[in-house]
Protein backbone atom coordinates (compact mmCIF):
# COMPACT_ATOMS: atom_id res chain seq x y z
CA UNK A 1 0.00 0.00 0.00
CA UNK A 2 1.33 3.43 -0.87
CA UNK A 3 0.65 6.44 1.31
CA UNK A 4 -1.76 8.85 -0.36
CA UNK A 5 -2.72 12.39 0.49
CA UNK A 6 -6.37 12.90 1.36
CA UNK A 7 -8.13 16.24 1.64
CA UNK A 8 -11.40 16.29 3.59
CA UNK A 9 -13.51 19.22 2.45
CA UNK A 10 -14.28 21.32 5.53
CA UNK A 11 -17.66 22.94 5.04
CA UNK A 12 -18.56 23.11 8.70
CA UNK A 13 -21.19 20.39 8.63
CA UNK A 14 -20.03 16.87 9.14
CA UNK A 15 -18.35 14.14 11.07
CA UNK A 16 -14.85 15.26 10.20
CA UNK A 17 -13.08 13.74 13.18
CA UNK A 18 -14.26 10.18 12.49
CA UNK A 19 -13.45 10.37 8.80
CA UNK A 20 -10.02 11.88 9.40
CA UNK A 21 -9.14 9.26 12.04
CA UNK A 22 -10.23 6.46 9.69
CA UNK A 23 -7.93 7.59 6.88
CA UNK A 24 -5.05 8.24 9.27
CA UNK A 25 -5.47 4.76 10.76
CA UNK A 26 -5.07 3.39 7.23
CA UNK A 27 -1.71 5.14 6.98
CA UNK A 28 -2.68 7.97 4.65
CA UNK A 29 -1.82 11.63 5.15
CA UNK A 30 -5.12 13.32 5.76
CA UNK A 31 -6.09 16.93 6.45
CA UNK A 32 -9.31 18.82 6.91
CA UNK A 33 -9.35 21.97 4.78
CA UNK A 34 -11.30 24.39 2.66
CA UNK A 35 -8.18 25.84 1.02
CA UNK A 36 -8.53 25.28 -2.70
CA UNK A 37 -4.79 25.10 -3.37
CA UNK A 38 -4.39 22.31 -0.88
CA UNK A 39 -7.47 20.39 -2.01
CA UNK A 40 -6.34 20.67 -5.63
CA UNK A 41 -3.02 19.07 -4.69
CA UNK A 42 -4.31 15.94 -2.92
CA UNK A 43 -4.65 12.46 -4.39
CA UNK A 44 -8.22 12.05 -3.15
CA UNK A 45 -10.77 14.64 -2.09
CA UNK A 46 -13.42 13.51 0.40
CA UNK A 47 -16.82 15.08 0.98
CA UNK A 48 -17.95 13.93 4.43
CA UNK A 49 -21.40 14.45 5.81
CA UNK A 50 -23.87 14.09 8.59
CA UNK A 51 -26.73 16.50 8.18
CA UNK A 52 -29.28 17.97 5.88
CA UNK A 53 -28.74 18.64 2.17
CA UNK A 54 -29.83 22.32 1.99
CA UNK A 55 -27.54 23.40 4.86
CA UNK A 56 -24.62 21.54 3.35
CA UNK A 57 -25.06 23.07 -0.12
CA UNK A 58 -25.49 26.49 1.44
CA UNK A 59 -22.21 26.00 3.29
CA UNK A 60 -20.41 24.91 0.11
CA UNK A 61 -21.76 27.97 -1.73
CA UNK A 62 -20.73 30.32 1.05
CA UNK A 63 -17.19 28.94 0.87
CA UNK A 64 -17.22 29.32 -2.94
CA UNK A 65 -16.48 25.59 -3.23
CA UNK A 66 -19.20 24.47 -5.64
CA UNK A 67 -17.53 25.40 -8.93
CA UNK A 68 -14.14 24.39 -7.56
CA UNK A 69 -15.35 20.85 -6.79
CA UNK A 70 -17.04 20.62 -10.19
CA UNK A 71 -13.82 21.73 -11.91
CA UNK A 72 -11.75 19.24 -9.94
CA UNK A 73 -14.10 16.43 -10.94
CA UNK A 74 -13.94 17.38 -14.61
CA UNK A 75 -10.14 17.33 -14.41
CA UNK A 76 -10.26 13.74 -13.16
CA UNK A 77 -9.71 14.28 -9.44
CA UNK A 78 -10.61 11.26 -7.36
CA UNK A 79 -13.58 12.28 -5.21
CA UNK A 80 -15.35 10.21 -2.54
CA UNK A 81 -18.64 11.38 -1.03
CA UNK A 82 -19.70 9.82 2.25
CA UNK A 83 -23.38 9.63 3.27
CA UNK A 84 -24.62 13.20 2.87
CA UNK A 85 -21.40 13.80 0.92
CA UNK A 86 -22.59 11.21 -1.61
CA UNK A 87 -25.97 12.89 -1.92
CA UNK A 88 -24.25 16.23 -2.62
CA UNK A 89 -22.96 14.66 -5.86
CA UNK A 90 -26.55 14.62 -7.16
CA UNK A 91 -28.19 17.08 -9.54
CA UNK A 92 -30.99 17.90 -7.14
CA UNK A 93 -32.33 16.99 -3.69
CA UNK A 94 -35.89 17.08 -2.44
CA UNK A 95 -34.86 17.12 1.27
CA UNK A 96 -36.97 19.81 3.02
CA UNK A 97 -37.09 21.79 -0.25
CA UNK A 98 -35.79 21.43 -3.79
CA UNK A 99 -32.06 22.20 -3.75
CA UNK A 100 -29.51 21.97 -6.55
CA UNK A 101 -26.53 19.74 -5.81
CA UNK A 102 -23.06 19.51 -7.32
CA UNK A 103 -24.45 17.65 -10.34
CA UNK A 104 -21.46 15.34 -10.69
CA UNK A 105 -23.61 12.23 -11.08
CA UNK A 106 -27.08 12.29 -12.68
CA UNK A 107 -29.96 11.61 -10.33
CA UNK A 108 -32.17 12.96 -7.57
CA UNK A 109 -32.09 12.67 -3.79
CA UNK A 110 -35.52 11.52 -2.65
CA UNK A 111 -37.21 10.46 0.58
CA UNK A 112 -36.94 6.78 1.45
CA UNK A 113 -40.05 4.82 0.51
CA UNK A 114 -40.25 1.97 2.97
CA UNK A 115 -39.70 3.97 6.15
CA UNK A 116 -38.88 7.46 7.37
CA UNK A 117 -35.28 6.45 8.10
CA UNK A 118 -32.87 3.65 7.37
CA UNK A 119 -30.72 3.10 10.43
CA UNK A 120 -28.56 0.08 11.03
CA UNK A 121 -26.41 -2.58 9.46
CA UNK A 122 -27.31 -4.12 6.12
CA UNK A 123 -25.56 -6.21 3.50
CA UNK A 124 -24.42 -4.63 0.24
CA UNK A 125 -25.21 -6.08 -3.14
CA UNK A 126 -22.46 -4.98 -5.49
CA UNK A 127 -23.46 -4.31 -9.11
CA UNK A 128 -21.60 -4.37 -12.43
CA UNK A 129 -18.79 -6.47 -10.87
CA UNK A 130 -17.00 -3.23 -9.96
CA UNK A 131 -13.61 -4.43 -8.71
CA UNK A 132 -13.34 -1.65 -6.14
CA UNK A 133 -16.55 -2.78 -4.46
CA UNK A 134 -16.69 -6.53 -5.19
CA UNK A 135 -14.80 -7.66 -2.05
CA UNK A 136 -17.61 -6.02 -0.04
CA UNK A 137 -20.36 -7.96 -1.74
CA UNK A 138 -22.81 -9.29 0.88
CA UNK A 139 -20.87 -7.58 3.68
CA UNK A 140 -22.79 -5.56 6.27
CA UNK A 141 -22.16 -1.83 6.62
CA UNK A 142 -23.75 0.91 8.73
CA UNK A 143 -26.48 3.11 7.25
CA UNK A 144 -28.03 6.18 8.85
CA UNK A 145 -30.11 8.26 6.45
CA UNK A 146 -33.62 9.32 5.57
CA UNK A 147 -33.08 10.29 1.92
CA UNK A 148 -31.61 8.25 -0.88
CA UNK A 149 -29.80 9.11 -4.12
CA UNK A 150 -31.68 7.52 -7.04
CA UNK A 151 -29.40 7.27 -10.06
CA UNK A 152 -29.53 5.65 -13.51
CA UNK A 153 -28.57 2.00 -13.15
CA UNK A 154 -25.25 2.50 -14.91
CA UNK A 155 -24.01 4.69 -12.06
CA UNK A 156 -25.28 2.44 -9.28
CA UNK A 157 -22.28 0.56 -7.88
CA UNK A 158 -24.09 -1.19 -5.01
CA UNK A 159 -27.55 -1.45 -3.58
CA UNK A 160 -29.26 -2.59 -0.42
CA UNK A 161 -32.61 -4.37 -0.26
CA UNK A 162 -35.09 -3.98 2.59
CA UNK A 163 -38.57 -5.47 2.71
CA UNK A 164 -38.87 -5.59 -1.07
CA UNK A 165 -37.44 -2.13 -1.69
CA UNK A 166 -34.06 -1.67 -3.27
CA UNK A 167 -31.99 1.47 -2.67
CA UNK A 168 -28.75 2.91 -3.94
CA UNK A 169 -25.94 2.15 -1.50
CA UNK A 170 -23.01 3.32 -3.63
CA UNK A 171 -22.56 5.31 -6.85
CA UNK A 172 -19.67 5.67 -9.23
CA UNK A 173 -19.00 7.68 -12.35
CA UNK A 174 -15.36 7.40 -13.33
CA UNK A 175 -13.24 8.83 -10.57
CA UNK A 176 -16.18 10.18 -8.60
CA UNK A 177 -17.84 7.79 -6.21
CA UNK A 178 -20.17 8.00 -3.27
CA UNK A 179 -21.19 5.76 -0.41
CA UNK A 180 -24.59 6.15 1.25
CA UNK A 181 -23.37 4.26 4.31
CA UNK A 182 -20.64 5.23 6.77
CA UNK A 183 -17.48 3.25 5.94
CA UNK A 184 -15.63 5.05 8.73
CA UNK A 185 -18.14 3.54 11.17
CA UNK A 186 -18.49 0.13 9.52
CA UNK A 187 -15.62 -1.51 11.38
CA UNK A 188 -13.10 -3.54 9.37
CA UNK A 189 -15.30 -3.91 6.29
CA UNK A 190 -15.62 -0.14 5.99
CA UNK A 191 -11.96 0.60 6.54
CA UNK A 192 -10.84 -1.91 3.95
CA UNK A 193 -13.32 -0.53 1.43
CA UNK A 194 -12.03 3.00 2.04
CA UNK A 195 -8.51 1.80 1.47
CA UNK A 196 -9.43 0.10 -1.79
CA UNK A 197 -11.24 3.19 -3.02
CA UNK A 198 -8.30 5.44 -2.21
CA UNK A 199 -5.83 3.09 -3.88
CA UNK A 200 -8.04 2.39 -6.89
CA UNK A 201 -9.25 5.91 -7.59
CA UNK A 202 -5.90 7.59 -6.96
CA UNK A 203 -4.19 5.04 -9.20
CA UNK A 204 -6.74 5.60 -11.99
CA UNK A 205 -6.21 9.37 -11.93
Amino acid sequence: MSRKTIGIVDYGVGNHASVQRAFQALGHACRLSNEKDFLASVDVMVLPGVGAFPSAMQALHSLDMVDFIRDQASEGKAIIGLCLGMQLLAEISLEHESTKGLGLIPGTVQPLQYSACHIGWNALEVLHQDPLFMPCNRMSVYFNHSYVFEVPEIYRAARVSIDGYSYTAAVRKGNVCGLQFHPEKSQTVGKQLLNRLVEGLAHAK
Partner: protein, 255 residues
Protein backbone atom coordinates in the same frame (compact mmCIF):
# COMPACT_ATOMS: atom_id res chain seq x y z
CA UNK B 1 -34.88 -7.15 5.99
CA UNK B 2 -33.38 -4.44 8.16
CA UNK B 3 -31.21 -5.87 10.90
CA UNK B 4 -32.04 -4.91 14.46
CA UNK B 5 -29.25 -3.59 16.65
CA UNK B 6 -27.47 -4.31 19.90
CA UNK B 7 -26.28 -1.06 21.46
CA UNK B 8 -23.58 -1.02 24.12
CA UNK B 9 -24.37 1.69 26.66
CA UNK B 10 -21.73 3.49 28.71
CA UNK B 11 -23.16 5.62 31.52
CA UNK B 12 -20.96 8.47 32.72
CA UNK B 13 -21.21 10.51 35.92
CA UNK B 14 -18.63 13.05 37.07
CA UNK B 15 -16.37 11.97 34.22
CA UNK B 16 -16.31 8.30 35.25
CA UNK B 17 -18.08 5.33 33.75
CA UNK B 18 -20.47 4.01 36.34
CA UNK B 19 -22.75 1.10 36.94
CA UNK B 20 -26.09 2.72 37.61
CA UNK B 21 -29.01 1.34 39.57
CA UNK B 22 -32.15 3.22 38.59
CA UNK B 23 -30.07 6.42 38.25
CA UNK B 24 -30.21 6.57 42.06
CA UNK B 25 -27.13 4.62 43.11
CA UNK B 26 -23.84 4.27 41.30
CA UNK B 27 -20.72 2.11 41.35
CA UNK B 28 -17.56 3.27 39.55
CA UNK B 29 -16.37 1.18 36.60
CA UNK B 30 -13.40 3.18 35.33
CA UNK B 31 -12.53 5.40 32.41
CA UNK B 32 -15.40 5.74 29.91
CA UNK B 33 -13.05 5.69 26.94
CA UNK B 34 -11.74 2.27 27.97
CA UNK B 35 -15.27 0.84 27.99
CA UNK B 36 -16.03 2.47 24.64
CA UNK B 37 -12.87 0.95 23.21
CA UNK B 38 -13.94 -2.51 24.41
CA UNK B 39 -17.37 -2.20 22.82
CA UNK B 40 -15.73 -1.10 19.58
CA UNK B 41 -13.40 -4.12 19.59
CA UNK B 42 -16.26 -6.48 20.40
CA UNK B 43 -18.38 -5.34 17.45
CA UNK B 44 -21.31 -3.53 19.07
CA UNK B 45 -23.76 -2.32 16.45
CA UNK B 46 -23.79 1.14 18.04
CA UNK B 47 -22.33 2.64 21.20
CA UNK B 48 -24.31 5.03 23.38
CA UNK B 49 -22.26 7.35 25.58
CA UNK B 50 -24.72 8.84 28.04
CA UNK B 51 -23.44 11.53 30.38
CA UNK B 52 -26.00 11.83 33.15
CA UNK B 53 -24.83 15.00 34.87
CA UNK B 54 -24.50 17.48 32.00
CA UNK B 55 -27.97 18.93 31.68
CA UNK B 56 -27.51 22.13 33.69
CA UNK B 57 -27.48 24.91 31.08
CA UNK B 58 -24.06 26.15 32.18
CA UNK B 59 -22.46 22.72 31.69
CA UNK B 60 -23.36 21.43 28.23
CA UNK B 61 -21.98 18.35 26.48
CA UNK B 62 -18.76 16.69 27.65
CA UNK B 63 -16.57 17.66 24.69
CA UNK B 64 -13.40 16.63 26.51
CA UNK B 65 -14.70 13.08 26.81
CA UNK B 66 -15.82 13.12 23.17
CA UNK B 67 -12.31 14.22 22.19
CA UNK B 68 -10.79 11.32 24.14
CA UNK B 69 -13.19 8.89 22.47
CA UNK B 70 -12.48 10.40 19.07
CA UNK B 71 -8.75 9.97 19.65
CA UNK B 72 -9.34 6.23 19.99
CA UNK B 73 -10.33 6.15 16.31
CA UNK B 74 -13.28 3.87 16.96
CA UNK B 75 -15.08 2.49 13.93
CA UNK B 76 -18.43 1.79 15.59
CA UNK B 77 -21.31 4.28 15.26
CA UNK B 78 -21.44 6.54 18.31
CA UNK B 79 -24.54 8.07 19.90
CA UNK B 80 -23.93 10.88 22.39
CA UNK B 81 -26.35 11.95 25.11
CA UNK B 82 -25.95 14.61 27.77
CA UNK B 83 -26.21 18.37 27.97
CA UNK B 84 -27.16 19.13 24.37
CA UNK B 85 -28.71 22.60 24.55
CA UNK B 86 -29.55 23.12 20.90
CA UNK B 87 -28.32 23.26 17.33
CA UNK B 88 -24.78 24.50 17.99
CA UNK B 89 -24.08 21.88 20.66
CA UNK B 90 -25.46 19.14 18.42
CA UNK B 91 -23.29 20.23 15.48
CA UNK B 92 -20.21 20.34 17.68
CA UNK B 93 -20.95 16.90 19.16
CA UNK B 94 -21.11 15.46 15.63
CA UNK B 95 -17.94 17.25 14.57
CA UNK B 96 -16.22 15.57 17.55
CA UNK B 97 -17.11 12.14 16.18
CA UNK B 98 -20.66 11.31 17.26
CA UNK B 99 -22.96 10.03 14.54
CA UNK B 100 -26.23 10.63 16.33
CA UNK B 101 -27.44 12.63 19.32
CA UNK B 102 -29.88 11.61 22.01
CA UNK B 103 -32.03 14.31 23.54
CA UNK B 104 -33.98 14.30 26.79
CA UNK B 105 -34.46 17.61 28.64
CA UNK B 106 -34.54 19.62 25.39
CA UNK B 107 -37.64 17.69 24.28
CA UNK B 108 -39.65 19.23 27.09
CA UNK B 109 -37.79 22.50 27.64
CA UNK B 110 -37.39 23.68 24.06
CA UNK B 111 -39.22 21.58 21.46
CA UNK B 112 -38.50 24.15 18.73
CA UNK B 113 -34.79 23.61 19.28
CA UNK B 114 -35.25 19.91 18.57
CA UNK B 115 -36.60 20.86 15.14
CA UNK B 116 -33.54 23.07 14.61
CA UNK B 117 -31.25 20.16 15.49
CA UNK B 118 -33.09 17.83 13.11
CA UNK B 119 -33.02 20.38 10.28
CA UNK B 120 -29.25 20.67 10.47
CA UNK B 121 -28.33 17.04 11.27
CA UNK B 122 -31.20 15.23 9.62
CA UNK B 123 -33.98 13.45 11.50
CA UNK B 124 -32.11 10.15 11.35
CA UNK B 125 -29.45 11.59 13.66
CA UNK B 126 -31.86 12.56 16.45
CA UNK B 127 -33.12 10.16 19.14
CA UNK B 128 -35.47 10.98 22.01
CA UNK B 129 -34.82 9.47 25.43
CA UNK B 130 -38.04 8.89 27.37
CA UNK B 131 -37.50 7.62 30.93
CA UNK B 132 -40.72 5.80 31.70
CA UNK B 133 -42.23 3.65 34.41
CA UNK B 134 -45.30 1.51 34.49
CA UNK B 135 -47.63 2.39 37.37
CA UNK B 136 -51.18 1.41 38.37
CA UNK B 137 -52.44 4.66 36.84
CA UNK B 138 -50.64 3.96 33.55
CA UNK B 139 -47.29 4.74 31.98
CA UNK B 140 -45.50 7.73 33.47
CA UNK B 141 -42.75 9.87 31.98
CA UNK B 142 -40.10 11.07 34.43
CA UNK B 143 -38.57 14.55 34.43
CA UNK B 144 -35.09 13.89 35.82
CA UNK B 145 -34.67 17.49 36.99
CA UNK B 146 -37.80 17.98 38.99
CA UNK B 147 -38.39 14.33 39.80
CA UNK B 148 -42.00 14.84 38.70
CA UNK B 149 -43.79 12.27 36.61
CA UNK B 150 -46.61 12.86 34.19
CA UNK B 151 -48.78 10.46 32.22
CA UNK B 152 -47.00 9.46 29.03
CA UNK B 153 -50.25 9.85 27.08
CA UNK B 154 -50.32 13.57 28.00
CA UNK B 155 -46.59 14.12 27.57
CA UNK B 156 -46.59 12.70 24.06
CA UNK B 157 -48.85 15.53 22.89
CA UNK B 158 -46.19 18.05 23.92
CA UNK B 159 -43.13 16.30 22.52
CA UNK B 160 -41.74 17.15 19.05
CA UNK B 161 -41.75 13.54 17.90
CA UNK B 162 -42.00 14.53 14.22
CA UNK B 163 -38.37 15.63 14.47
CA UNK B 164 -36.83 12.48 15.87
CA UNK B 165 -36.09 9.12 14.27
CA UNK B 166 -36.31 6.73 17.22
CA UNK B 167 -37.34 6.74 20.86
CA UNK B 168 -35.24 5.16 23.58
CA UNK B 169 -37.75 3.80 26.04
CA UNK B 170 -35.76 3.74 29.25
CA UNK B 171 -37.18 1.69 32.10
CA UNK B 172 -35.42 3.94 34.58
CA UNK B 173 -36.93 2.28 37.64
CA UNK B 174 -35.50 -1.14 36.75
CA UNK B 175 -32.33 0.16 35.13
CA UNK B 176 -29.27 -1.63 36.51
CA UNK B 177 -31.09 -4.76 37.60
CA UNK B 178 -30.83 -8.10 35.87
CA UNK B 179 -33.64 -9.14 33.52
CA UNK B 180 -35.92 -6.48 35.00
CA UNK B 181 -37.16 -4.46 31.99
CA UNK B 182 -40.93 -4.12 32.23
CA UNK B 183 -42.33 -5.72 29.08
CA UNK B 184 -45.65 -3.90 29.46
CA UNK B 185 -43.82 -0.65 28.58
CA UNK B 186 -43.90 -1.85 24.98
CA UNK B 187 -47.51 -0.70 24.88
CA UNK B 188 -46.02 2.80 24.58
CA UNK B 189 -45.45 2.07 20.90
CA UNK B 190 -49.15 2.72 20.29
CA UNK B 191 -48.73 6.24 21.67
CA UNK B 192 -45.33 7.04 20.26
CA UNK B 193 -45.60 5.51 16.77
CA UNK B 194 -41.84 5.54 16.46
CA UNK B 195 -39.24 2.77 16.29
CA UNK B 196 -38.20 1.89 19.84
CA UNK B 197 -34.84 1.29 21.47
CA UNK B 198 -35.42 -0.53 24.77
CA UNK B 199 -33.03 0.12 27.65
CA UNK B 200 -32.93 -0.49 31.37
CA UNK B 201 -32.71 -3.82 33.13
CA UNK B 202 -31.92 -5.82 29.99
CA UNK B 203 -29.16 -8.36 30.41
CA UNK B 204 -29.95 -11.79 28.96
CA UNK B 205 -30.29 -13.16 25.45
CA UNK B 206 -33.62 -14.69 26.42
CA UNK B 207 -34.99 -11.25 27.29
CA UNK B 208 -33.45 -9.59 24.22
CA UNK B 209 -34.96 -12.23 21.97
CA UNK B 210 -38.41 -11.58 23.46
CA UNK B 211 -38.09 -7.80 23.06
CA UNK B 212 -36.80 -7.96 19.49
CA UNK B 213 -39.74 -10.16 18.54
CA UNK B 214 -41.87 -7.01 18.88
CA UNK B 215 -42.14 -5.25 15.51
CA UNK B 216 -41.77 -1.82 17.11
CA UNK B 217 -38.44 -2.63 18.76
CA UNK B 218 -35.50 -1.94 16.47
CA UNK B 219 -32.68 -1.97 19.00
CA UNK B 220 -31.74 -2.98 22.52
CA UNK B 221 -29.44 -1.03 24.81
CA UNK B 222 -27.37 -3.09 27.22
CA UNK B 223 -25.20 -1.43 29.85
CA UNK B 224 -23.94 -2.86 33.10
CA UNK B 225 -23.92 -6.53 32.22
CA UNK B 226 -21.45 -6.00 29.37
CA UNK B 227 -18.69 -4.92 31.70
CA UNK B 228 -17.98 -8.14 33.52
CA UNK B 229 -16.58 -10.37 30.82
CA UNK B 230 -14.45 -10.09 27.72
CA UNK B 231 -16.16 -10.12 24.31
CA UNK B 232 -19.56 -9.71 25.94
CA UNK B 233 -21.19 -8.41 22.74
CA UNK B 234 -20.06 -11.37 20.64
CA UNK B 235 -21.22 -13.76 23.37
CA UNK B 236 -24.68 -12.17 23.49
CA UNK B 237 -24.99 -12.17 19.71
CA UNK B 238 -23.94 -15.79 19.53
CA UNK B 239 -26.81 -16.63 21.88
CA UNK B 240 -29.19 -14.67 19.62
CA UNK B 241 -28.77 -17.01 16.67
CA UNK B 242 -31.82 -16.78 14.40
CA UNK B 243 -32.72 -13.24 15.48
CA UNK B 244 -32.53 -10.53 12.80
CA UNK B 245 -29.37 -8.87 14.05
CA UNK B 246 -25.92 -8.63 12.51
CA UNK B 247 -23.98 -11.79 13.36
CA UNK B 248 -21.15 -11.53 15.90
CA UNK B 249 -18.23 -9.64 14.46
CA UNK B 250 -14.71 -11.03 14.69
CA UNK B 251 -11.68 -9.55 13.01
CA UNK B 252 -11.00 -12.84 11.21
CA UNK B 253 -14.55 -13.07 9.80
CA UNK B 254 -14.16 -10.00 7.59
CA UNK B 255 -12.47 -9.50 4.22
Amino acid sequence: MLNKRLIGVVTVKNGWAVQSFGYRRYLPLGKPEVLVHNLDRWGADEILLQCTDRSHPSVGPDFELLRKVSDLGISTPLIYSGGIRGREDALKVVSFGADRVMIDALLKNAPADVEAVARVLGIQAVIANLPTKNAPEGMLLLDYHSGHEMPLAEAVKLLPLDWISEVMLTDWYHEGYSEAFCMSLLAASDLLRKPLICFGGISTSHQIRALLANDSVVAIGVGNSLNYKEHAIQALKKDLFGVAIRPPYYESSTL
